[in-house]
Every structure is written in C-alpha cells, then in structure tokens.
C-alpha cells in the first residue's frame, strides 16, 4: 500500500514562503491499495493537484472518505477535475450531520449552490454517489477494506482504517482526545472519567499495530492548555503517547496549525521528540509533508 500527502495544513490553506517545505494545502491523502485501487482521504485544497494527475487513468473508480465536512476537509471537492469527466465513478463516504439530520450528499451539495460555485452538483458529468456511513461499517473494494471509528471533534468525525493485502493505515481526521468536563471535586468526575477511559481504549484499539498512523497534531501542548481546549484537535505529546500505546510502526503528525511557519513547526517537533524520550523501540515519528509519498 502506498500513500501520498497532498495537503497537511489545518483549518485554512496557507501558501507562502514560510510554508514551502511542509506545504500549505489543506488535508488530502491519496492511498493506493495492493491492486492500485484509489482511496482518497479528505478533500481539502490538496485534492485539486491530485485530481490533475489522474487523467491518464480515466475512466477511473474513486472512493473518497471524508473524515468530516468542515471547510478545510471539503473545499477542494468542487475543483477536483475527475468529477467533470463522464465515465468516472466517484463514491463519497462520510458522516451525516447529526444536528440538522442532513445526509453527506445534502451537506456537500450546498457548497455547490449557485452563490458559491458556478456548477451545480446535479450537473456534474461523472457518476457520483454518496454513502452515509454508520459507525463500524466496513466498505470493501478490490483488495482494500475501510473501517471507521467515531473520533472527537465539534462535528461528527470518522477516523478511517484502510487495510490492503496485509498492510494497514489509520487516518484520524480531526481529533481531540476527550477530556473530563468535570472538576476532580465534582461528584460526576469519576463516572465521566470511566466513560472517557473506555472511549480512549476503543480508539487505541482502532489504531492498534497499524503500519502508518496519520494523526491530528495541530497544537503544541502548552498552547493547547492555554487556549485551545475544546477546539477539537490533538497535540504533539498526546499523539506521541497514543502512537506508543497502540504500537503503531510509523506515526505521521499532520493538520499543521495554519499560523505556523516551517521553522516553528520543526522546532516544536524536535522539542516534542526530546521531551517524550523517543527510543529505538518506539514508533518512528514523521512530520507529514505535502507531495511526499510513503510505503505502508
């Protein structure tokens, strides 16, 4: 299984000289299964460039899995060229919106309404279909299977586990480790902590032993504690702890904070490796970098 980052930036695209090395596009990951079947995780602005490489394979079958439908994970979709080409089959999987009860199709169609985009969803030439995923659904095509796990973000967010011919990868989408909303002195603290612990264990089990864990690591831990609690994102120390605990082989830290320059990002990364005492027996930790392909 091969995978390539087409976007690693969180929240908003950040082109410019300070983000040239790691990249400024928002989240998009291309995965090729054992038989070259194409899975795309998230449709941030990075999916535009990916789409432009696919023409030689038309007509093509594409399975897109959206972790969630916040802008930075769907914004590239209207500019993803394969959707305009007849003969292409594109299936978009994701979670419905629990609050409005709108399906993935309804949510995505809205970003192509007249006020936002010149082409309506109904006018797209490719054969598009949509799947509202339920927790623990298993989608299979070719030698590849994709399962999901509900993670923690201000909107429903599925993490995905992609397995193909014995290799495995997990992508979290956006995820903040659930925290106790009660103070230690509150009577509810203990019971809530048990729920949180069970929830964490379920997620660790989902990550367990994968060849590649791609995990939301938006924040430095100090910046998180100071002002980002409840925003729905992970931190260096929490990602490192989870990767160690779930015995993954390699861990790719992604969703880089959009105000961060490449230098600042690397400083935080080196400091986190140092602080967390990474040894030979631990997973390898890698900053996700746009345009770089890896083998799982």
């Amino acid at each position: 299984m091969r995978f390539k980052f087409w976007g690693v930036r969180g929240s908003i695209a950040t082109p410019g000289p300070k983000t040239v090395r790691y990249g400024g596009n928002t989240t998009c990951i291309e995965i090729r299964g054992a038989s070259n079947e194409l899975v795309i995780l998230d449709a941030g602005t990075g999916i535009f460039q990916l789409g432009n490489t696919l023409a030689p394979e038309f007509p093509i079958n594409i399975n897109i899995f959206l972790s969630h439908t916040h802008w930075d994970h769907i914004q590239g979709l209207p500019m993803f060229s394969p959707i305009f080409v007849p003969g292409n089959k594109i299936t978009i999987h994701g979670a419905m919106d629990i609050v409005s009860q709108h399906s993935v199709k309804e949510v995505l169609s809205r970003q192509m309404e007249h006020a936002y985009f010149p082409v309506k969803e109904t006018e797209l030439a490719a054969e598009l279909s949509y799947v509202d995923l339920q927790e623990n659904d298993c989608i299979e095509f070719g030698e590849t299977r994709v399962t999901n796990c509900l993670l923690n973000h201000p909107v429903l967010n599925f993490g995905y586990r992609v397995e193909s011919a014995g290799k495995s990868l997990v992508f979290t989408g956006d995820h903040e480790w659930p925290y106790n909303i009660y103070d230690q002195t509150d009577p509810e603290y203990g019971a809530y902590q048990e729920i949180i612990n069970a929830r964490r264990q379920k997620i660790i089990d989902f990550f367990k032993d994968v060849d590649a864990l791609i995990i939301d690591t938006s924040y430095d831990d100090i910046e998180y504690e100071q002002s980002k609690v409840g925003w729905g994102h992970g931190t260096f120390d929490k990602s490192i702890a989870a990767a160690k605990e779930s015995s993954v082989k390699k861990c790719y830290l992604t969703h880089h904070e959009p105000t961060r320059s490449d230098d600042e990002l690397e400083d935080l990364y080196f400091a986190a490796l140092e602080r967390n005492d990474i040894s030979d027996s631990d997973p390898e930790f890698i900053l996700a970098k746009e345009g770089v392909e890896f083998l799982a």
Binding site: V99, Q101, E135, L150, L156, A191, Y192, R199
Partner: protein, 283 residues
Amino acid sequence: MQIIHEDLLAMVEAMPAFPQGVSKVLDLCSKADCSPKDLVSVVERDPVLAMRVLKLVNSPFIGLSQPISSISHGVAYVGMNTIKNIALTVAAIGMLPRENKANFDMDEFLQHSLGTAAVCKRMAGLKGVKETNSADYFLAGLLHDFGKVILVRQMPDQFSEALEEAQKKKLALDAAERMIYKIDHAEIGAVLAAHWALPEGLIRAIRYHHSAGDLSNPSLLEQIVMAGNLVVHRLGFGSSGNYYPAELPKSIIKNLGMNIDEIISAIGDTDSLFADAKAFAST
C-alpha cells in the same frame, strides 16, 4: 385510537422545551466560555432537551456501536459542540407555555420529574449500581412521564378529561387514561422512545413504570423507576396529576428489600436530595 402517527411525530419534532431549560441554554450559550458541565446539567434536567439529545445521538442513521443512555455519555461520544447545537436548535423553537388547555401545571410536573430522577439515582446507589451507570437511572426517572408532555401538548382535551375522571373516580391516572383513550402516558412515552430508537432499557422503564409488577422478571431499572415515582408521590414533591397511584407491588418490595417508607428512610435527607430539583424548576 391511532395515537402515534406521522402528524404526531412531526409535531413532537417541533416541540419546545421547558422555559427553565430554554432560558438557561440561551444564557449559557451566549457566553464565549460556555461551560460544558453547566450545559450538560441543564440538558439532563429538561425532559424535552434530554429526549431530543438522546433521540439524535441514538439515531439509526448514525448507527453508533453502542446505545447512548445518558447525556454525559452522549457528550463523550458525539462531542460537546454537537450537544450544544442540538440544545440551541431546540431552544430556538421557543418555550413550552406555562398555561395549557389541559390545566396541567408544568412547573409542578417538572419538579415531579426531577424529583423522581434524583430518587432513582439515589436508589441506584443504594442498590450498588456502579457510579458510571447511575446517570441512566437519573435519566429514566426524568423521562418516565414523558408521555404526559405529549398529551398536554397534542391531546389536551382528552388528557384533561382523564385527569378529572381520575380525581372523581379515585382512579390511578393511567387507569383513567386507558378507560378514556385506550392507551396511557406510559405506553405513549414508550412508543415514542422506541420509534426514536432509544436504548431498550430506557424504553422498558418508561413503559412499565406503573406495571413493572406484572413482569415476570423486571429489571432493576424498571423496578427503581416504578418505586422512585411512588416515593416522590408519597413525599408530595411536585405533581404529575396522579392523586391515586397504585401501591408498589409486593413482588417489587421483596426484590428491592424495601417498601416505600423504608426507601424514604434509606434515602435520608430528602430536602437536600430535592434542593437541586427545586432550584432548577423554580427559575
């Protein structure tokens, strides 16, 4: 009588929450640093808000791998922001009016529901239920009479007739209801809860809160909700419009090892137990 049909379900969808809950939700959410635990405490004290959250998080469209039977459990699974947005969506509908055609006192009813919730949670503790599960008992107590909220709103004339008949004939309210409209609030609440795919244990606790004694093997939750309701009636805390409730069946007294009086003395200081319910309902 065909009580549960599409129109009714549609009307229930648009049902506003209690004024106490709505004003607190709007107040909390207007602050930039809306405290999650404060918001949870409001949602889990308003039967309409609580029901709506449970309904959405248990929706088969999402298909969560485990049923969500308490609000805090829901927060841990779908996240605080989702719960907050559901609460705001309900709050935006408006408030349940304090006056209604059935002349049913909604403030007294809210006190009764909150009182039952508190007693059920305390009884669960007395029976050795784990702290993690005690919120399920609280919620089942809160929602046991949800059917009455529906009746007040959708069938006020018939409900009013049942309330009057029960008083006049010294009948349990559920019996008077069955006499007049062939179904009672327990069944109505349970049918809605089932339609919304709420956890099975909660549906059964609502359905059997007047009849757990008829079951061959009632669960602890079913028995505690039935007994908790009667405890709150005996103590005269709030009112659910039922002035002649049936006695707690002997089988349940035996299973729980306590009759109503013994439960009351085991609970201890009911004033402090009800202080929270009183504070919430009286705002």
